[in-house]
């Protein structure tokens, strides 16, 4: 069968997301719920479909059960294709033995045969933990126009934050001259978004080199790594390959921490609308949950919120995001919070500045979180988090910054 594709995307979805603590106890980070009905991975997958990329390898490793089930045959994203489509690629055993993915570059290295099946010109490498809408085809066009070997998507960040990112230093033609991971004194404010376009033949060569080089170092007892930013990009720069920075303008949010996950959800409620999910020209697809429309009851007070189907709200909801099938009983209060699918907030419970995980139950008169104003010291304030499938008993409270992973 003729299987050639111009572009194949490889989505790195094996991350544990350890800074999301209780929320990633049993699910991989890309499967973390976001925005009322989505999971993080919906963004890169929908971007692929909307960009005309129909062949996607999803590299999984950490807690893949939920993610595998969610992706399924890829139909919700239109990625159930006769040729191509979405394929989940877990680590596997070969004649040489089995090994876990030992870094982002190694994950792709171990799946080079998947890419070779499609004999692509270009490979797009994506992460599964950012919220953004991006037309990758424009980035590929930019890559082609520059006759680049590698193109890295960058975003201009405030100088004060630049030391949190991998920073690209470019000349006037956007050609990358240097790359520094988390610099103490940043020479530029162009941060890598972890989105790469590679000319496949070049990437293949560098993946093999990095693998051999790292394995040799390991045998010699030296420190080694198999990462994109640290190894592949650095080696390509060393060899004077053509690396270009593609500047992205628009909403891009890293949701690596509980605070940033909360903020990214709150951004959806901003009147400035930095990210429009209602935009029909660039829909974000997700797996549907087959629940009836939401019901807002007689005692409800619902303002400035995002609420998904299947919810039953009879309490007060303000500045909050409610996922599918959430119940907020009469007399319950939910402010500035994110309530994940199937959670129940019982009568008299108060949830503010908090994240409540899927299928958790907040019993009556429990109190989750506090407003920043009410905290005695601002250092002590932060989002309160209740993990998935956790019951908070009647009258109990969860303090700001506290993370609950077991019933209390």
């Amino acid at each position: 069968m003729y299987t050639k594709k111009k572009v194949v995307a490889m989505l790195l979805a094996g991350g544990q997301g350890s800074r999301l603590y209780a929320l990633t106890k049993n699910v991989a980070k890309p499967a973390v719920p976001y925005g009322g009905k989505y999971r993080l991975i919906d963004f890169p997958l929908s971007n692929c479909t909307n960009s005309g990329i129909d062949t996607v390898g999803v590299l999984t490793q950490y807690q893949p059960l939920v993610l595998n089930e969610y992706i399924g045959n890829g139909q919700p994203w239109d990625l159930d294709k006769m040729n191509g489509g979405v394929h989940v690629l877990p680590p596997y055993e070969s004649q040489k033995g089995a090994s876990w993915y030992e870094g982002t570059a190694n994950a792709i290295y171990q799946n080079m045969n998947f890419i070779r099946r499609y004999d692509p010109e270009y490979v797009v490498v994506l992460g599964g933990d950012h919220i953004y809408k991006m037309d990758y085809s424009k980035m590929v066009d930019f890559h082609i126009a520059n006759e680049a070997d590698c193109t890295i998507s960058v975003i201009d960040v405030p100088l004060a934050e630049a030391s949190r990112f991998g920073i690209m230093i470019c000349d006037e033609n956007n050609k990358v001259t240097d790359f520094v991971e988390k610099p103490k004194e940043p020479k530029s404010t162009l941060a890598s978004m972890g989105i790469y376009v590679f000319s496949w033949k070049k990437l293949e060569k560098y993946l093999i080199e990095n693998e051999e080089d790292a394995n040799a170092k390991r045998e010699r007892g030296e420190s080694w790594s198999k990462d994109f930013g640290k190894d592949i990009i650095t080696s390509m720069l060393r060899d004077n390959q053509r690396l270009f920075a593609y500047e992205f303008e628009g909403y891009w949010k890293d949701v690596g921490t509980l605070d940033s996950l909360w903020e990214a959800n709150m951004d959806l409620l901003s009147p400035a609308l930095p990210l429009d999910l209602h935009d029909k020209s660039w829909k974000i697809y997700s797996r549907s949950s087959y629940v009836p429309p939401q019901y807002i009851g007689n005692n409800a007070k619902v303002e400035n919120s995002m609420i998904a189907e299947g919810c039953d709200v009879d309490g007060s909801v303000d500045f909050s995001v409610l996922f599918a099938g959430v119940t907020v009983e009469e007399g319950a209060v939910v402010n500035y919070s994110i309530i994940m699918p199937g959670a129940v907030i019982k009568s008299g419970a108060v949830v503010e500045y908090a994240i409540v995980g899927s299928d958790s139950v907040i019993e009556s008169d429990a109190h989750i979180g506090k407003s920043p104003e009410s905290a005695e010291k601002s250092d002590n304030w932060g989002i309160a988090v209740v993990g998935h499938n956790v019951t908070v008993s009647s009258g109990k409270s969860v303090e700001p910054k506290q993370i609950i992973g077991e019933n209390i």
Partner: protein, 373 residues
């Protein structure tokens, strides 16, 4: 639910279209939007799927474009199958013109039925909203050695209003003694839900016998004809059902979903009602939104007040607007400072700022598809 290859499901998508002529002007009964995100055909289809029926034929008549668009390959009902699956059966008549009755329609699509390996056939229409498991019905059908089993529900009937209802009279063994089409009576009655279980073999005999006699009506020629000598049994469906037989009853049935007991009876956790996936974002409520007792589907953006109403997917409600006791179908864009009550807007209606529209419970104002006010 595991698959039951012994049952073939048939749905008449256009039966009783004329009773709700406003809503069926451009569509079939089956494609009438209902309950915020559904079409009426979703209910019989989901009942089949949730009963393990994996082979379904949808018999269409006219105006079925919207139905084709809604059903597609049947994937959203899990009916895009190699074995069985969803089959759309467009109108075709051996006697010329569009079919006249249920038997005529069945004769025209008989090769589809014949091709199925199922021994039993279930027939449903689209004008009854209910949740039912057909397995107990089939069990009773076999145990009582019935020729035909009619599914009925008990409820208040008013012959002046319920023009498409057929009333059954049964003896204590649930044998059907008499079948009356829209009799001029009032009160608690056994109402046929237009659902039938019959063996394929008997259905074949009935259909071809009728064709040779040039008769078309299953009700008149078979159920009401005592000379046939068939053993006709009733099966009582004890759960809630709502029949759509007028614009008024359509309006009332939608509003009845605001009652939590009704929602519990129709939308059961174990037997979801499937429908076409819309990929809409969750509902966004603005700073001054005020919502009471309403059913609201995904994709809506609401900045005004909504009370006692059903909003379908992707409806926009402007600031200062008050919508009460209304059914607003998919894609309506309603401006600011409007006052709307007791209205039904069909798909993609536009209402400019500062409009006032008031209907009444028995005569809701109906605004045509794509209407602009």
């Amino acid at each position: 639910m595991s698959v039951n290859y012994n049952l073939l499901g048939l749905i008449f998508a256009s039966m009783h279209d004329s009773f709700v002529s406003d809503l069926t002007e451009h569509r079939t009964m089956g494609s009438i939007p209902f309950g915020g995100r559904y079409r009426l055909i979703d209910f019989p289809l989901s009942n089949y799927v949730n009963s393990g029926v994996s082979e379904v034929g949808v018999i269409t008549k006219a105006n079925y474009g919207s139905l084709l668009d809604h059903l597609g390959s049947g994937r959203d009902w899990d009916l895009a199958r190699k074995k069985g699956g969803l089959h759309l059966l467009p109108p075709y008549s051996q006697t010329g013109g569009i079919y006249k009755g249920r038997l005529d329609a069945l004769a025209n699509i008989w090769s589809f039925v014949e091709h199925s390996k199922a021994q039993y056939v279930i027939l449903s229409n689209c004008d009854v909203v209910t949740t039912i498991d057909f397995n107990p019905v089939l069990r009773q059908h076999k145990e009582t050695e019935a020729d035909i089993t009619l599914i009925y529900g008990k409820g208040y009937y008013d012959g002046e209003k319920n023009r498409s209802t057929t009333i059954l009279q049964l003896d204590e063994d649930k044998v059907v003694n008499d079948v009356l089409v829209a009799p001029r009576i009032k009160g608690e009655c056994c109402q046929w839900l237009d659902m039938v279980i019959i063996s394929k073999e008997l259905l074949r005999t009935i259909v071809f016998d009728s064709m040779s006699r040039n008769t078309f009506s299953f009700t008149k020629e078979i159920l009401q004809n005592k000379e046939c000598g068939y053993k006709i049994m009733g099966f009582e469906h004890t759960e809630l059902f709502m029949r759509i037989d007028s614009t008024e009853s359509y309006f009332a049935a939608n509003k009845r979903l605001l009652d939590s007991e009704t929602r519990k009876a129709i939308f059961k956790y174990k037997t979801p009602v499937y429908t076409k996936v819309g990929d809409n974002a969750p509902v966004k409520y603005g700073l001054e939104s005020n919502i009471k007792n309403s059913l609201i589907a995904d994709g809506c953006i609401i900045e005004g007040t909504v009370e006692n109403s059903i909003l379908f997917r992707g409806v926009k409600v402007g600031k200062g607007t008050v919508i009460k006791d209304s059914v607003i179908m998919q894609g309506a864009v309603i401006g600011s400072n409007c006052r709307l009550s007791e209205i039904i807007t069909d798909k993609n209606v536009g209402i400019r700022d500062d409009q006032i529209l008031n209907g009444s419970e028995t005569y809701p104002v109906y605004i045509n598809k794509n209407g602009k006010i």
